[in-house]
C-alpha cells in the first residue's frame, strides 16, 4: 500500500491487454457460470474493476438445468453438473445484458446452441443488440444431455465456428473442451475456422460416488471437474495451444489468485478467467488483479503484455 506522497510503482504498470481487437483494461475476468453481477457482488468490489464481464452461458430457449445434487466437492476442486439453467435469450437481452453493458468493461456474451440453427439464430440475435464486444461459443459444456460437446470433434467444431463466424461481425471466442486427444489440434481447427480468440479450458468430465447412498454423487451422474485440481492440465493446454496458434488465449482452470494467473500468462494466455474460486473467496478476482500488478512492478515490467508467453523462452 502506498503511503502519502510515496509513489506506488505498481500504479505505473499497464495492465491492459488486447483480445481480438477489444481492449481489456486488465487481464482478469470471471469464467462463465461462476460470477453474477448483482447487488450482493457489487458490495464486495465493483465488477467495473474487472478486465471484462461475462454472463453464464445462455441458450435460445429457457432450460431448467439438471436435477440435484448438482455439485460435489473433490480434493482441490469440485464437480458440477448444473446443466446450464437459463431463462432464454429474450429474458437475458431484456434483463441482464443492459446491466453488463452499463458497467464499463468489455462484455463477453457466452452462448450455446442445441442445434446448428440455434447457434446461428442466437449469434445473430446477440449481435443485433449492439451490447456485446465478444461472442464466446461454449462448445464444451460436459453436462448436456444433447450429446458430446461440440468441441470434441474437429469436424463439428469447424462447422459451428465457421458458420457463426460467417454470420456475425462480432469477434468470436471459441471455448474449448480439454476432453480431447490433443487440444492444440482443436485450437488450430478453431483458428482456421475463423475464431478470433480461444477460451480454454472448460471442465474435465468426471464423477464421484456417494458412499453413504452407494450411488453417483451427482444427479446427472457425471460432472465437470474444476478448481486448482485441474490447473496443471489447464496450463499445459494453454502452453501447447500457444505454440500452435496466433490468436489470443483466455486461460482458465484453477486460478485462485495472482500466482496461478501469472503462470497462465507466462504459458501464453493474454487474459485469465477465475471460475470456482469466486465461490471460495469473493475477492479472488480483485486480489488477482492487484497481485499481477505488484508482480510486474517488482519484476520491472511496465506492461503485462511483456510477459504473455514469456514462459516459452
Amino acid at each position: 500500500m502506498a503511503g502519502a506522497g510515496i509513489e506506488d510503482p505498481g500504479q505505473q504498470v499497464d495492465l491492459s491487454v488486447d483480445i481480438a481487437g477489444v481492449r481489456f483494461p486488465n487481464p482478469v475476468m470471471p469464467a462463465s457460470g461462476t460470477y453474477e453481477v448483482d447487488e450482493i457482488h457489487d458490495n464486495f468490489f465493483s465488477p467495473s474493476e474487472l478486465g471484462a464481464v461475462i454472463n453464464k452461458t445462455i441458450f435460445l430457449h429457457p432450460r431448467p438445468g439438471n436435477p440435484p445434487p448438482r455439485i460435489w466437492e473433490t480434493p482441490c476442486g469440485m464437480l458440477n453438473a448444473i446443466g446450464i439453467p437459463c431463462d432464454g435469450a429474450e429474458a437475458f437481452i431484456r434483463d441482464r445484458l443492459p446491466i453488463l453493458r452499463r458497467l464499463g468493461p468489455p462484455v463477453v456474451v457466452s452462448i450455446a446452441g442445441e442445434t446448428m440453427d440455434e447457434w446461428i439464430e442466437l449469434s445473430e440475435l446477440i449481435e443485433s443488440t449492439g451490447m456485446a464486444d465478444l461472442l464466446e461459443l461454449n462448445l464444451s459444456c460436459p453436462n448436456l444431455s444433447e450429446g458430446i460437446p461440440w468441441s470434441t470433434e474437429e469436424k463439428t467444431l469447424e462447422r459451428v465456428v465457421s458458420t457463426v463466424v460467417g454470420r456475425v461481425k462480432l469477434p468470436v471466442v471459441a471455448k474449448l473442451s480439454p476432453v480431447v486427444t490433443d487440444i492444440a489440434d482443436m485450437a488450430r481447427t478453431a483458428e482456421a475456422s475463423g475464431a478470433a480468440a480461444l477460451s480454454m479450458i472448460n471442465t474435465y468430465k468426471g464423477m464421484a460416488i456417494d458412499i453413504k447412498k452407494k450411488r453417483p454423487a451427482l444427479g446427472n451422474i457425471t460432472g465437470g471437474l474444476s478448481g486448482p485440481a485441474i490447473r496443471p492440465l489447464a496450463v499445459w493446454a494453454v502452453y501447447s495451444a500457444y505454440e500452435t496458434v496466433k490468436i489470443p488465449i483466455i486461460g482458465m482452470g484453477g486460478v485462485d489468485g495472482p500466482t496461478a494467473a501469472i503462470e497462465f500468462l507466462l504459458a501464453g494466455a493474454s487474459a485469465v478467467a477465475v471460475g470456482m474460486y469466486n465461490f471460495i473467496d469473493p475477492f479472488a478476482m480483485k486480489r488477482t488483479i492487484e497481485g499481477i500488478r505488484t508482480y510486474l512492478a517488482e519484476e520491472g515490467y511496465s506492461s503485462v503484455r511483456e510477459i504473455i508467453g514469456l514462459g516459452h523462452g
Partner: protein
Amino acid sequence: MAAPVYRKAILVSRKESPKGYMHLVIREEQIAQTAGPGQFVMVRGWHTGDPILPRPFDIVLADPLKGIFRLCIKVEGKGTRFLSTLKKGSGLYVTGPLGKSITEFDSAGTALLVRGAGAAAVVFLAETLAKLKKPVYTVLSASTKSRLVCRSLLEQFSTDVFIATDDGTEGYSGNGTDLLDKLIEEGKVDTVYTCGAHRFARHVKALDLAGKVRGYLFLEGNMGCGMGDCHGCAVKKEGKDGYALVCMDGPVFRSRDVVVE
C-alpha cells in the same frame, strides 16, 4: 436487506453440546448487526485444497451490541470436523448474512418442528417471536434424550417446548409430528416451520396443502457459494418446470411451493 460481507472473523468461544454438535461464537460486527432469522453464513476455516469450499450454517443467534453471532454445527465430514477442532482465537472466513430473512410475524401461534441440527435453524426465529410477544411452541425431537440440540435456547424463547424421543428416554415416545398435530387440534398454531427431517417436511407440506396451517421449510442443498453464483443448491419448484435456489430464494420456503422428497 443488508448486503453480505466477506471477512476474516475471530472464533470467540466454542462448546460441544450435545456430543457431536459444536457451538461456535464468532466475532464479526457487521454480520451480527445485520443478520435476521432464517439467514445463514458460509464459513471456511482452512486454506487447504481439501476441504476447499466454504460450508453453510444457519445463524443461531446474533448479538448486535457485542458484535458476535453463534453457530451450532453438527460434526459430519471433513469441513465440519475441521471447524470443530478450531481453537478459541482462531481466524475463520465468513460470508454473510446470506439468504432471505424471515419478515412475516403476523401469525397467531407458531410451531417449530425440529430435529438434530435442524434445531439450530429456528432459534433465531424463536427469539424474534418471543421479542414480539408472539406465542411460539417448539416440538424438539431426537433419537434419545442426550441427542437433543439447542434445548436450553429453545426453552428460553418458546412459550412451551415439547420433547419427543424415538426411544422414550424423555417426553413423548414417538414421532414429533404427533405433538404438532395436537397443537394444531388445540387451535394453538396456524403457522409451522420445520427443519431437520424429510418426514417432518412431508408432514408439514400435507398440513399446508390441506389448509390447516401455513407451512414453511428450512431447506438444504449442496452449496458452493451461498450467493447465487454456482446454481448448485437447486430445489424443484412445485408444479413448474424449474428450480429455485436455496441460497437466493430461501433457505426458508413455503412448503406448498417446493417438491419434497
